[in-house]
């Protein structure tokens, strides 16, 4: 049986842990609101770019299409771009992303393809290095950036497009957490390069003039589309991180509360037991006289 002093110290330490988790939960809630607003603000650009891309891609096809749309013609070397967070304390978010990435890698390896990884964010490095140490092509560090923005997406996209044009890989997949709600963030896998041709295209009857021509506009737009996709993924990651962190910290705060209640009951019981023993000793002493 732990002594009274030990119990008291234990309660104190759990209480201070609870204070920290509670603070982290409130910070995450505030940041989540900001991240969600940012994700919402990015939607008009993405949807407009996608619709323009769709109408252009349907007009340009065959050999005249740019490399980013056409692809290298091979389907052998796959690059997995895995977007993880930089900080922990966000529940199972990162392990879920890594799990999805490893699943995809196993599937591709089983089909006899080559797989390499391109990691964004710190938290994916260690678990992926454990299984695929020689396969990591590059780690993109975002941990020094306070507010992740379009500049980072641009840097990643430029690097990826350069690697693609240099023929380092044939197909790139993007794996990132999709923010559904504060409780649910699902890892999502989408094909990044070559840019998948959009399925639904509304045929416009109006004759559109292009300046310069369709191919050149498309060649100009494709890298931009890749940037937008990465930017979207980074924003989703931000929102997911805060959402997951909020939920995880809410749970931690509640668990700490339960533990404090239990320890307090135990503390009071042993205190009373000590008092009772003392009383018995006094009474027994008085009777003996």
């Amino acid at each position: 049986m732990a002594s009274l002093k030990e119990l008291k110290d234990r309660i104190g330490s759990v209480k201070s842990t609870q204070k920290i988790t509670k603070a982290k939960q409130m910070v995450a809630a505030a940041k989540l609101r900001k991240a969600q607003a940012a994700a919402e603000a990015a939607r008009p650009y993405a949807s407009r770019l996608a619709s323009v891309m769709g109408s252009l891609a349907s007009k340009v096809s065959g050999d005249s299409a740019p490399l980013l749309l056409r692809g290298t013609g091979a389907d052998k070397r796959h690059l997995l771009v895995v977007v993880n967070t930089d900080k922990g304390l966000c529940g199972g978010l990162n392990s879920n992303i890594v799990k999805a990435a490893k699943l995809q890698a196993q599937k591709l390896l089983a089909e006899g393809k080559d797989v390499t990884f391109y990691l964004v964010g710190k938290k994916g490095r260690a678990p992926i290095r454990r299984d695929y140490e020689s396969k990591i092509a590059f780690n993109f560090d975002t941990s020094n950036v306070r507010n992740i923005g379009f500049a980072e997406a641009e840097a990643i996209a430029d690097d990826l497009v350069a690697r693609f044009e240099a023929g380092e890989f044939d197909v790139a997949h993007l794996i990132y957490p999709e923010f559904k709600s504060a409780l649910a963030q699902d890892p999502t896998v989408v094909q990044l390069l070559p840019v998948p041709s959009p399925g639904t295209v509304e045929a416009s009857d109006a004759a559109v003039e292009y300046e310069p021509d369709e191919e050149e506009i498309l060649a100009d737009l494709l890298p931009r589309y890749v940037k937008t996709q990465l930017f979207g993924a980074l924003l989703e990651r931000e929102a997911s991180e805060q959402g997951a962190s909020m939920t995880a910290m809410d749970n931690a705060t509640r668990n700490a509360g339960e533990l404090i209640d239990k320890l307090t009951i135990k503390y009071n019981r042993s205190r009373q037991a000590a008092i009772t023993t003392e009383l018995i000793e006094i009474i027994a002493g008085a009777e003996a006289l």
């Binding site: 940012a38 603000a41 990015a42 008009p44 650009y45 993405a46 407009r48 770019l49 323009v52 252009l56 923005g149 379009f150 997406a153 641009e154 416009s204 109006a206 004759a207 559109v208 003039e209 292009y210 300046e211 310069p212 050149e216 506009i217 100009d220 737009l221 931009r224 940037k227 937008t228 930017f231």
Partner: protein, 85 residues
Amino acid sequence: MALHFELVTPSKLVRSEDVHMVVVPGAEGEFGVLEGHAPFMSTIRDGAVQVYKTEGGEPESIMVRGGFAEVGEKGLTVLAEHVEG
């Protein structure tokens, strides 16, 4: 008679308003867009988009970098990666 003009960047919708005319620095030369312009698509070079709120008024310049302009039934949409001012 007004032209609906939208300026969009990846992080936000910068402008969405009805104006008289917009002069866009196209890759192959500047072009002005008034209401009822034929459907048109162009890449734009880095430069100033000039927005004329009223006919004959002073234009407002917005610097854009890395852009693309589309004129459709709904008006003019400029997609730009960076916007200053």
